[in-house]
Amino acid sequence: MVLLIAVSVSSFAFSQTKMAANTNAEAQIIALEKAGWQAWKDKDVNWYKKNTTEDFLMVLAEGTRSKADVLKATATECDVKSFSLAGFKCVMLNENAALLTYTAMQDAVCGGKTSASKVRAAVNYVRRGGKWLEAFYMETPVAQ
């Protein structure tokens, strides 16, 4: 019985620690995503090199893009005047995977075409070697 009580107490303590760890991870992931958008605006290819998985995939209305495609497009394709991100919701799928959703407003032109001004984004992050990396990015234009 003592063992059961000890397990309950340690389980409670573990839950508290886990909650704190999740909150910390969520904050890190949201900060990363904001930095990713800023990097896109600044044409900072290095951010994408360092913060996406090797098998990173971006799913847009224009089709799917690999990491190599994204690095190329980030450097040359888009001119971003402004953006704002809101309504972040982060779901920890397990201790090494998370799903982040939010709404983005943007004023951008990519490949000569004006991008949808409002999109819903769903982004999967995974933790590899202790570092959170973007693994999947999907964007859905919101009908205006």
Binding site: M1, V59, L93, N94, N124, E139
Partner: protein
């Protein structure tokens, strides 16, 4: 005189401390409840579901390390049987001997036992061995009411990851069938409680809204084809990318057409469920 008084004092203190000891039940080395635990192992290894059912109460619950919460025993038994789809030569060897602890306090009845489960992964050919500690709580009728297993099952679960991908593909197939046939009951078990759906128009629906639309017939598919492009496994989470094409019943024709989906799944209580679905219309 002082020495004598000190000795007497120590004797009284020791005697008092001894008197404060209190028994809280009996530990048995032989008991029908210990036999019942042995029978559960025999029935598991023999894949004898009928025998297993006789050993647990109908309302029993089961939990193992890594699970967020316990699950009903009927669900657990189905899960145990999948071990044999993933592993050959499964064996469970006793380590030491079990104790049956019959506590005076609350009349609790618990068998604690130590085991080592082993099996050869069908996918990798690797032998996996997991030491584990098991607590079985019994009711007065000698039925197990709760079983908790402590151990590091990461290797046991990892060796079956190929089958996990297959399991996710199966859920996608089930999802397609359920949507095509408007089977809200099936969708209810496929969608996680916090499920969110982002349509091709960017509108967000909750699980309840999605199920209500299916049940009322407001959302009805004439046809639905899903082609899985990629599944990425992240332990007990997975992300699938698939291409689809749908035709809807009158009233929703505007939604007809091709789409791309990223679907996020988690394994919860031994079952893969969908937590989110994001959709985009290609070529826009």
């Amino acid at each position: 005189m002082k020495k004598i008084l000190v000795i007497i004092g120590l004797f009284i203190a020791a005697n008092t401390a001894f008197c404060q000891q209190e028994e809280n039940g009996i530990i048995y080395i032989k008991h029908p409840n210990i036999d019942a635990v042995h029978k559960t192992i025999k029935a598991y290894l023999g894949k004898d579901m009928a025998a297993l059912k006789t050993l647990y109460s109908d309302t029993a619950r089961w939990w193992a390390s890594g699970m967020p919460k316990s699950i009903p025993i009927a669900e657990a038994m189905k899960l145990w049987m999948t071990d044999f789809d993933l592993y050959d030569s499964i064996d469970q060897k006793q380590v030491g001997y079990p104790d049956y602890l019959h506590y005076k306090d609350q009349d609790a009845k618990t068998v604690q036992s130590w085991w080592r489960i082993s099996g050869k992964s069908k996918k990798t050919g690797e032998w996996v061995r997991v030491p584990m500690f098991v607590l079985d709580d019994f009711n007065a009728d000698g039925k197990i009411i709760r079983e908790s297993i402590y151990g590091d099952f990461s290797k046991w679960n990892a060796a079956s990851s190929g089958n996990e991908e297959q399991a996710v593909r199966q859920v996608i197939s089930d999802l397609q069938k359920a949507l095509q046939t408007g089977n809200a009951t099936a969708l209810d078990s496929i969608y996680a409680d916090g499920y969110t759906f982002t349509g091709v128009d960017g509108a967000i629906s909750t699980k309840a809204q999605r199920l209500a639309a299916i049940k009322s017939g407001k959302l009805k598919y004439k046809s639905l084809n899903l082609e899985t492009v990629k599944i990425q496994m992240y332990g007990d989470a997975a992300v699938a990318l698939f291409n689809g094409e749908a035709k809807f019943a009158p009233g929703n024709e505007k939604l007809d057409g091709k789409f791309m989906t990223t679907a996020t799944f988690i394994k919860s209580n031994g079952r893969w469920v969908q937590v989110a679905s994001g959709n985009v219309r290609p070529g826009k």
